[in-house]
Subunit: 273 residues, 2 copies
């Protein structure tokens, strides 16, 4: 397996970064992740938009143009000979002499196998827990997951699958996923503020007006507890129905009809991309 570092393809096992990198020293960096299916780079322009925007906000110049970056990724996929995969692009703060100033960023591109959620999870749904927290600079896809990873033990201990962040009564997002709720009146809502703008979230918002009424808005913890349906979304997970939040059963405790219809519509969107 090959990966790419700054300006060269190299063996994935040999992709090493010097310890002075600002990611190791200060957790400073951004990343993005998208899917390649049947050789097609799904929604790649959206992911590139976000990656370049994250880089700009965090003051990390990317050494490659979008065209060059795409070319590198296509060459990487060809070298590795795997046409269904995930591509991860990490951009770090670079080798910082003083360990605190942004230097020349390191660009790391790695290819990963994809495991999409199986039938059991879609049949049964998942339990999630909640935690009071908001990510630093939430609209940017930084590498800071200190709290998310630290919460993994609590998630496991409580036999849950993920954790929903909330602050001052309003929910925002999961460490790596967005949230949607379906209200009693069948409108679908995703939190508007303090969230990363997921590409899957965007694709679902784009379904508004056809068979669904979908919008961004404030969502309170109470809205979640009394929702008819709740689900999470991400690039790798697509749509996962949530049937329990902390100790509260959602709806009738089974994956909801609208959630599953949105998943179908999402897969259709992917196939058309």
């Amino acid at each position: 397996m090959y990966s790419f570092l700054n300006n060269e393809f190299l063996s994935a096992e040999k992709t090493f970064i010097h310890a002075s990198d600002l990611a190791t020293q200060r957790g400073y960096g951004i990343f993005d992740f998208f899917k390649i299916m049947n050789g097609r780079l799904l929604f790649v322009e959206d992911y590139f938009d976000r990656f370049y925007r994250s880089a700009e906000i965090m003051r990390l110049p990317i050494s490659l143009s979008r065209e060059e970056l795409k070319k590198v990724i296509l060459e990487l996929v060809q070298k590795n000979g795997v046409s269904d995969c995930g591509i991860k692009m990490i951009l770090t703060g670079g080798y910082s002499p003083g360990g605190y100033e942004i230097a020349s960023p390191n660009l790391i591109i790695t290819q990963h196998s994809l495991t999409m959620p199986g039938t059991p999870v879609l049949d049964k749904g998942i339990k999630i827990i909640t935690h009071e927290y908001v990510r630093d600079i939430p609209h940017v896809k930084t590498i800071n997951y200190i709290t998310g990873i630290w919460l993994q033990k609590r998630i496991k201990d409580e036999h849950a699958a993920d954790v929903l962040y909330h602050l001052n009564g309003l929910v925002s997002e999961f460490p790596r996923c967005n949230l949607f709720i379906v209200k009693e009146d069948r409108t679908v809502i995703t939190p508007a503020k303090r969230v990363l703008h997921g590409i899957t979230r965007k694709n679902i918002l784009n379904l508004n007006g056809k068979d669904f009424s979908i919008r961004e808005d404030d969502v309170s913890l109470q809205d979640v507890f009394k929702a008819k349906e709740v689900f999470l979304t991400s690039t790798t997970k697509r749509v996962i129905p949530i049937v329990q939040v902390d100790d509260t059963m959602i709806g009738i405790g089974k994956p909801g009809e609208i959630s599953l219809r949105i998943l179908e519509a999402l897969i259709e969107t992917e196939n058309k991309n």
Copy 2:
């Protein structure tokens, strides 16, 4: 120059970490930093206490016992032949196959040159700005400095030297330093909550009862603005007088007498250690 990685001494320039490390992938790790002066490891037991406690809270086992760690550091200092230096110990989340689970931590120990604050800064004092923020898991010395580094530009633009975090009206700390204020009645107070427990902060709190009245308590932004004196503390900076906070002049706009007396007492404490 040598550094130490897991179980071996190696050239500092060759201290590389694989890109799959959870620090690069997810900003997950802890660190600590202490001074060696004239070959003496200053307050090393306090720093080790904090380092091992941070590691335990973040679920990162340290492969070396305290005795082994101290032996490694002494050997490193001897190899490098520099007896006045800073020692940085970083413990990362390790090489994580899935990029999200804690693996076997990597321990990186590096030696750094020390530059203590010079006379001009102590004569003139510094300006600081304020920012609404609280660090994730503030009592742990994690490597997450996303916000601190991102704020560097604003600090520079506003001709300031550092940024003080506050939330809901209460101030907490700087990205890398603790805060102290001196009230009109000459009592010295440092924020009690949502702070990293600095070793310099501890040494200053220990001065309580001799020539000073020093304690931990809530400190509001207003308390800072109307303080007689304000100063910051850290291992490398010791005590730096603050003469301006945002647009507000502190006291008479000059380093205060009590701040400078505390600095003297701190240096005395260091010399006795």
